[in-house]
Symmetry: C2
């Protein structure tokens, strides 16, 4: 059993994504015998038949899924003719190499959306997008960035920064109201590590580097950045900054705002950066602090200096089972305030716990089957856990052998107080592997008329139950009101613990067969859910960001004075709105 989940470095040449999540070699398929398989060999979940998967889906959604009943994808995906700014095109062709500029329809379409299920992926696969990138520019250097920005400003062209394309907040959705030529600026050719400072454990990397590639390059040097958003295989360093990303191991490595020590951003009015990276300093107001979460509204991030760490001596997975979610939350609360928090700890609700079970191979070993059965008997009969109430925590511990030993013994001792029982390292690792597979599941179930989506929020500790209950009830209400078929699926996990609250990550599945414009219907429901999340004390977002999807809730997030300030700050660096992607408060 390897200690690390198999995040393999990406290779852009092998990722003709065709608009879906992830890599072309990997998808869930339904076999004739009713089993489900993840193709390829990229993940630990890949290459075996899961017999409990389809029955699980059918149970939770309340309908049968079958090969004969698939939703047909749009075969030839429409792309509008490009809006071309002649002066800009001429100047760009004169300044850049041919292979840095693309007017190709497929490239344009690939750069015209992110990964939001309903407004983006659903539209491109089953409907049509509303606005398309008119050209794609492949940025290769800081000078390129400066020059493309200057040209865009001179010729009144709109630039949209593009990283991994994994936004799930419609931040990459192009505004239909934009009448200027839109150029998508793909940053992924800026993927080098510029320097490594081993003594101070800092690295300067170009902003277009993909997370998995960054980790692979660092790993070869005995180092790690440790920032692991679920999108790490595809998303870029610059995208992490633009989204204000969170990594699953933030307890050890910090979220992106703790990882980064210097950002270089090219704006239409100059370069924002510190002259040198700063470990901690009191320099007056720090413009850099405002760049986290800029969502493409200000400029092009070209590079960043980040903290790196020596590879940990040991990485250990673990898991705990608790009789109820309430036991789990109280355990987590104590752990967050007494410590030590392991690199990652996630608490999954009963529904997701059972989902994890459904992805297991039907075991070939009679002995292993016996062991599993005995385990189950012990937990449910001897300990009296209700299989429909029990929950699990998955754990990653990293550090020196001694620190990990200390963490483990503290954790398990505290867990006892809340009737927590160790569930084994394998169960823990399985939980983390699921992370990388979940988005593929979204695209799998979509074929069978199920819209699956995730959404997240940060919530104070004492509002966790309220928010989760409210989401569940509002979904039930909407499901009934809109007369949707089948059952609805809502589950959640608590993915991060902070001093004053947690991140809750919801997963939703709705069977939509026969519903007209199902993506719009889903959008309505999600909007209603965000309303109740905010009403009940949750935030607009923990790490996905606002983009266009959640723009309506900014007035419940920032004072009007703050919003006005941001509008003026934007004008300060981009008076003619070159960066017209219109996210967040800059939305139409």
């Amino acid at each position: 059993m390897p200690d690390q989940p198999s995040i393999k470095p990406s290779n852009l040449d092998n990722t003709p994504w065709d608009h879906r999540w992830g890599f072309a070699d990997t998808e869930f398929v339904l076999h004739e015998d009713g089993s489900v398989e993840l193709t390829g060999s990229r993940y630990n979940l890949s290459g075996y038949r899961m017999y409990d998967f389809a029955p699980y889906v059918e149970e939770v959604v309340g309908v049968k899924i079958g090969l004969e009943d698939q939703q047909p994808e749009v075969a030839r995906k429409p792309v509008d003719p490009p809006i071309l700014n002649a002066g800009f095109c001429e100047a760009a062709k004169a300044r850049f190499r041919n292979d840095q500029l693309s007017f190709d329809d497929r490239q344009r379409l690939l750069h015209s959306h992110g990964q939001t299920t309903t407004d983006e992926v659903y539209r491109v696969l089953y409907d049509r997008l509303g606005r398309f990138a008119d050209m794609v520019f492949f940025c290769e250097s800081e000078q390129d960035a400066k020059d493309i920005v200057a040209l865009a400003k001179r010729h009144d062209v709109c630039l949209v920064p593009y990283g991994g394309g994994t936004s799930v907040s419609c931040a990459l959705k192009l505004p239909e109201s934009e009448k200027r030529m839109i150029v998508s600026v793909d940053m992924r050719r800026m993927n080098r590590i510029e320097w490594i400072d081993r003594e101070n454990l800092r690295v300067c990397a170009q902003a277009g580097i993909i997370g998995a590639d960054l980790e692979a390059k660092l790993s070869a040097e005995g180092l790690t950045c440790g920032h692991e958003p679920d999108s790490i295989e595809l998303s870029t360093l610059g995208g992490w900054i633009a989204t204000n990303a969170s990594g699953m191991k933030k307890n050890r490595y910090g979220n992106i705002e703790h990882v980064v020590e210097n950002i270089t951003m090219v704006t239409p009015e100059g370069v924002i950066e510190q002259v040198a990276p700063l470990c901690r300093a009191s320099i007056g107001m720090q413009p850099q602090n405002l760049l986290f979460g800029n969502e493409g509204n200000l400029g092009l991030i070209t590079r960043a200096v980040i903290k790196v760490h020596r590879l940990p001596e040991v990485t250990r997975y673990g898991s705990l089972v608790f009789p109820t979610i309430d036991h789990g939350v109280r355990f987590l609360y104590d752990l967050a305030h007494g410590g030590p928090l392991p690199a990652s700890i996630r608490l999954v609700d009963n529904i997701q716990f059972r989902f994890g079970m459904a992805l297991k191979a039907r075991t070939d070993s009679a002995f292993q089957a016996l062991v599993d059965k005995a385990k189950k008997y012990f937990v449910t009969r001897i300990k009296g856990f209700d299989p429909h109430k029990m929950v699990a925590a998955t754990i990653v511990m990293e550090g020196s052998r001694e620190e990990v030993r200390h963490q483990r013994s503290s954790l398990y001792r505290l867990a006892k107080k809340y009737q927590g029982m160790p569930g084994g390292a394998e169960a823990g690792q399985r939980g983390y592997m699921l992370t990388y597979a979940i988005a593929y599941i979204r695209d799998f179930v979509a074929k069978f008329h199920i819209i699956g989506e995730t959404f997240e929020t940060s919530v104070p500790w004492d509002k966790i139950t309220r928010v989760c209950d409210a989401v569940y009830q509002k979904t039930a209400e909407k499901h009934k009101e809109l007369n949707l078929p089948g059952r609805f699926y809502v589950s959640y996990r608590i993915t991060q613990a902070y001093h004053s609250g947690v991140c809750i990550y919801f997963m939703m599945g709705l069977y939509m067969k026969g519903i007209e414009k199902p993506d719009r219907v889903y959008g309505q429901i999600e909007h209603a859910l965000r309303e109740v999340i905010l009403e009940n004390g949750g935030s607009i977002s923990h790490h996905h960001g606002v983009g266009k999807l959640r723009k309506d809730f900014m007035k419940q997030t920032l004072s009007s004075g703050s919003i006005e300030f941001l509008k003026r700050a934007k004008r300060a660096v981009d008076p003619t709105n070159v960066f017209g992607v219109r996210n967040n408060i800059f939305s139409d």
Copy 2:
């Protein structure tokens, strides 16, 4: 031996500071017998005769100090007649109570400076200030803040926010070029805790609350904020935010930017705040992030929501001695990257280590004397430590009994690797007590013609030696070049450890008798030192800020694009420069 240093809650009525640091009941005095005593009973250092103090000073500065040779203080301190804006005064008198407005010369003078030694304290005690507050306004509510800002804007009056008055960067020095009426806005009447959220461990406090009072009020509830800048007895929550302050126990509680979850700032163009505090969220650009380190340039901070913690189960002091500073630094490097870091750890150089010894009482107990002698013999003879090279680390550990036990055993085990030896809890605690006494020492030695000052910087790990050497050499060079009498005193401690660097806190003493305008001469030297600090890889400041003292170095800190952006951001909230204190890039 109490576990906590005796930070007593401040009581403003008892603090007629007369421009010096701290409380009127406390000062170092030189007795006829050559001993030095800290008067009063406020500190653990108070109330006994220190016989080694004066000889230590004489040794390091190379001159005799004596009662007969004191520098006379200006008896009647000059204050210029106020510039009065008639319209504003009339409107203010109509809107506010009489006791919220002061035109009194003493109040005006007290509000016309901070605690920078040379440009502020030295001038007011031994020379004269250049510009005075024309009125003092005591702000009592958010509505007061909004109204005074509106009045100032309408009548073109300059407002200067005033918290604890402890700035050491000339941030409170009033600009001589300011021709408008200057109103100092004293925030300290806004000192209430507005609410306590025990479950989520958050507190909303008014920004004028003094640190020690905040801690006293929280402590009564079984809580602590844990933010302990050295100025905690005097400085305010709002001042911490404005300065981007650091607390000595940041390893456990974070620096101010980690403590605060919401800031409310009243600006001339509206209120900047989040609608609710956020534990961690991705809301797009966060205006709040720009308010840390605003140095009074933008508006009035009226309140903040901060994280609080249950009082730790145990607090333990500790200390370690190392044969050389290099051993200590390597130990700290390993600790910072392997952990666990205790709440606080500080490494003092040999000079400060010996200074700590000099502040001891001459012990009355023959037995204790024997023990001390035996200790010293063991360290210097058996272990072979050179008393003029050995250094010490002082340590504060906080948390659960078990966590502290684990920290302690990890610490001491790691220390062995670098020949570190435990030095006892008492030595550790003594180190922390010194913190609160140091500023009083500055005012004590000033009487004897010694200008003493501290300055700090953050430095990457591999530049520590370079920066310290450069400071020492540049001081030597300047001391010679300027033909100053006696010897110069430079010592330092490493007060904070981070992933990529440390905070170095320097102390300097220069005997200036017979030197004309000694404060200007000292200013020249400090400027030259900051130059070499930056040249050798240090930063403009770790936690004191930039103010006016370090404004010349902003171009070596931020790109020109960043500076231009900040200027525009300032205009966005304060187009007519109501907040005209002119710190940092807004300096003349």
